[in-house]
């Protein structure tokens, strides 16, 4: 079946512009995650959705970052007034619902490479 998809695959934008990144999770996966990966670094958790709600937004780096999810499917990550330090690969992952201490595998999309000039 289809995996997690993300669009665009690459985005170059000028400093100060807004960008919107999209994630389509695997059908039936109620949990959705956004991560940021700067060059040479590990993944940095941004936000997590369980269904349409985001129980934890503490990973969002600033109020310029926001995310939403509709219909337990597509999610968009919006970065307003982009800065050069926002340049990174933004990864989306989805999984079946987590419950209690049960860890389920996260399936990753190919990522969106964002370059802010």
């Amino acid at each position: 079946g289809a995996g997690v998809s993300q669009s665009p695959s690459n985005k170059v934008t000028e400093k100060g512009k807004d960008v919107e990144l999209r994630c389509d999770p695997i059908s039936g996966h109620t949990a959705l995650y956004w991560y940021r990966q700067r060059l040479g670094q590990g993944l940095e958790f941004l936000i997590y959705f369980q269904g349409n709600s985001a129980p934890d937004k503490s990973g969002l780096p600033s109020d310029r970052f926001s995310a939403e999810r509709t219909g337990e499917s597509v999610s968009t990550l919006t970065i307003q007034r982009t800065q050069q330090e926002d340049s990174a690969v933004y990864l989306c992952a989805s999984s079946l619902a987590t419950s209690g201490g049960l860890q389920v595998e996260q399936y990753f999309g190919p990522g969106t490479r964002l370059t802010v000039t």
């Binding site: 991560y35 670094q41 993944l43 990973g59 996260q106």
Partner: protein, 109 residues
């Protein structure tokens, strides 16, 4: 604070040689640990998790709570093992994964 450290950014070994990718963690409690792998031009994918105690593609990893380590090992490296390897930690109290910076493994022919 929860933290995952992968001390080697790059590891290069010859085909057929043993491989050990190091991962150390900092966590108060019982963590769940994972190894993820990203082959060239492919997505990040789960390789193995400590709770399963499995061997995948010849790789194993043992959780050593005394040394707070979860090193990934393979006795005989193959060229197709060349990839980026990430160690990740998840606490039992939430869903978040804490990631190491990754180790690039190059297997020389």
């Amino acid at each position: 604070a929860q933290r995952v450290t992968q001390p080697e950014k790059l590891l290069s070994v010859f085909k057929g040689a043993p491989v050990e990718l190091k991962c150390n963690y900092s966590y108060s409690g019982s963590p769940e640990l994972f190894w993820y792998v990203q082959y060239s031009r492919q997505r990040l994918q789960l390789l193995l998790r400590h709770i399963s105690r499995e061997s995948i593609k010849g790789f194993t990893a043992d959780l050593n709570k005394g040394e707070t380590s979860f090193h990934l090992k393979k006795p005989f490296a193959q060229e197709e093992d060349s990839a980026m390897y990430y160690c990740a930690l998840r606490s039992w109290s939430n869903y978040q994964l804490i990631w190491g910076a990754g180790t690039k493994l190059i297997i020389k022919p």
